[in-house]
């Protein structure tokens, strides 16, 4: 049954919203931000910051927009003089004990206190009394608590209590002596604890890993997907001068709400590796020699050309569907054994949110590989590789034993981000981009196809694996033409024929689900 719709007017903008919608969410639909601190859509609302007080006609007092549901016909003013004055008052109160240390605060530039004070705060302070002082505390492996900056919004306490379900944080003391406390026998080390850093609207809870690494305004954020496991949490990759310095969650209510786990959050150093293969390499006697793409593609085309001998494809979990599909096409009609390496780790659920966890299968695109029929048994594929006439290795880390087995094959093509000197039989090493350097689609465990956008430029001459494979494929046969874009490359693969960039958007689409659902 469709929800009952109510009509309200917010700052002159009429909107229709479902019954039960809080004013703050209704305002969002009207394109109006109601400034707030304690409210967060993924947490219970305590209505304590008092920033979101709005004026409602025919109501005697200002009301907190975060906990007040709209009523039909209501006329709400977010920017009436009374509401503005109230907000200005709250901001002044929040600032009296807040240090003016924005120049050394990591949050500066992405600080909600800074932003709202800039928008609607007083130009100068009327506070001349001493400020409260509390020392910085070490809360956990990656989290510092800078008490002086804390505005007691309690998002962190509520996250640990209601979402992580491990209440190690508290509000201690009363009045303006209050602070966020942690029991001295406990640590803020829950596998999802890092989210409190993102939830903190000011620079009070900060990441040690990111400490003083970059200013917010120097960062470029790129929508992406975490490759740590099969959950497929949506993330933003923050780069500074093309170096990835931080991963943070990007909201996707159907996948990860507003959160990512600490394992995923920390999983970015590989993106900045300095030992990348920057040019295609071809075998010249007992040496691999750098060459240009024309030459490399020719060698590749010849290698995969007409033959009936079996091929083995070994891939890593971070490869996109485009790359998996097109590299597999190189096998043509030859018998193909394909497998994806799936490292297994510990599962770490977040607590209160069903279907959200760090998954045991640490291969982001395992489901994509399955859809493409490229996720056979890994050990069998390795064994097969020792006998196959051609082995294709697609950006995957191998154990010494595996490498030794594979190196016994007559010929090997390595689509590599990093060279592997153990693979002495490599005939062509194609310098390929990593998942954060090119557009691609990953499919998570719930068959949600999600796009990753390039967050940093490819090193040297590296190209996406799908491009390399497609160009070689085109050269290997008559009348073939390679796709020009990642989008084309994707849609030319059967399981994804109906997908388009527009449908995928930035939050993806569940394969097989009607298109309309993907819009939400």
């Amino acid at each position: 049954m469709a929800p009952e719709l109510l009509t309200v007017t917010i700052d002159g903008v009429p909107v229709q919203v479902a019954k039960g919608t809080a004013m703050i969410e209704a305002a969002k639909m009207a394109g109006i931000v109601v400034p707030h601190y304690c409210y967060h859509p993924s947490l219970p609302s305590p209505a304590v910051c008092r920033m979101c007080l709005v004026q409602v006609e025919k109501m005697p007092k200002l009301v907190p927009a975060c906990v007040t549901p709209v009523a039909d016909g209501q006329v709400i003013h977010v920017h009436s003089p009374e509401a503005i004055k109230a907000r200005e008052g709250v901001l002044e109160f929040l600032l009296i004990n807040h240090p003016l240390d924005c120049p050394i605060c990591d949050q500066a530039g992405e600080c909600e206190l800074q932003d709202f004070v800039f928008q609607g705060g007083r130009a100068n302070s009327r506070y001349t009394e001493p400020k409260r002082y509390n020392p910085v505390e070490d809360f956990g492996p990656d989290i510092l608590y800078v008490a002086n900056r804390c505005i007691l919004c309690t998002r962190c306490v509520r996250f640990m209590e209601s979402v992580a379900e491990e209440p190690v944080l508290n509000v201690s003391e009363r009045g303006d002596r209050a602070f966020i406390g942690i029991d001295e026998s406990q640590r803020l080390d829950h596998p999802w604890a890092g989210n409190v850093v993102d939830l903190c609207p000011v620079g009070s809870l900060i990441s040690k890993d990111f400490l003083h690494k970059a200013r917010a305004w120097d960062l470029d954020g790129t929508p992406s997907v975490c490759t740590g496991c099969t959950q497929g949490c949506n993330i933003t990759v923050d780069t500074r001068d093309d170096v990835v310095v931080r991963l943070r969650p990007r909201p996707n209510l159907d996948v990860n709400r507003h959160f990512i786990c600490d394992t995923g959050r920390a999983d970015y150093r590989w993106m900045n590796r300095g030992d990348r293969v920057e040019a295609p390499l071809v075998r010249d006697g007992d040496k691999l020699r750098a060459t240009d793409w024309d030459n490399a593609l020719q060698r590749l085309a010849v290698l995969v050309g007409a033959s009936d001998d079996p091929v083995v494809l070994l891939s890593g979990g971070r490869n996109s569907c485009e790359s998996l599909g097109w590299v597999a096409k190189l096998a043509g009609d030859r018998p193909l054994t394909a497998a994806m390496r799936v490292p297994i780790g510990e599962t770490a659920p977040i607590g209160a949110i069903p279907d959200l966890a760090l998954r045991a299968e640490r291969a982001a695109n395992l489901e994509g590989a399955r859809l493409l029929g490229l996720a056979g048994d890994w050990n069998a594929a390795i064994a097969e590789a020792g006998r196959a006439s051609l082995v294709i290795v697609l950006d995957v880390e191998l154990s010494d034993e595996e490498a030794a087995t594979i190196a016994g094959a007559p010929q090997l093509v390595h689509f590599a981000t990093v060279a592997d000197p153990r693979l002495t039989n490599a005939v062509v090493v194609a310098a390929v981009t990593s998942i954060v350097e090119s557009q691609g689609v990953l499919v998570n465990r719930d068959r949600r196809a999600q796009r990753v956008l390039p967050a940093r430029p490819a090193p040297g001459m590296a190209r996406p694996a799908w491009w390399v494979a497609a160009e070689a494929w085109a050269q290997a046969g008559d009348g073939r033409s390679a796709p020009a874009t990642a989008d084309e490359a994707l849609r030319s693969l059967a399981p994804f024929a109906s997908l388009s960039n527009a449908e995928l958007g930035l939050t993806g689409r569940v394969l097989g689900a009607p298109v309309a659902e993907a819009v939400s």
Partner: protein, 166 residues
Amino acid sequence: MSSHSAEVHAPVFVGATLAKLEALYPKYPTRMALLLPALWMVQEERGWVSDGAIHEVAEKLELTPAYIRGVITFYTMYHTHPVGRHFIQVCTTSPCNICGAEAVARALLEHTGCGELGATSPDGRFTVMEVECLGACGFTTPMLIDDDFIEGVTVESVPALLARYP
């Protein structure tokens, strides 16, 4: 927060005290509701609520130590540090204030040897705290010595009063 965590904690909730706590279980639909009563029992037994006691209560009531610490620090009557043998709470809120409560408080500091509010006298006998309204505003100045509610304290009556608490 506390420097006493290294001390070995001898359980409070054994024998009669445990029975007292368990007798309360049926009176409340949740275990959490027993937190204030349980902390009172700890304080009655030990004079203060140590880290070890917090962990013990946490286990008994299925709460986290951090949660309990948040609650304890909300209320002024639980001691998270040891206090003097006799704990004095003197009211200095306005109704008593206008009738000379601050002078009584000063007299208490002087005659106990505590010197300052919140400090324990060198002989470990007294700790004096200023508290907000004790709810006996018609009987200035009221104070609590341990659990004894004493009304009408004056600067003059302080020495004799203290003598009753060796």
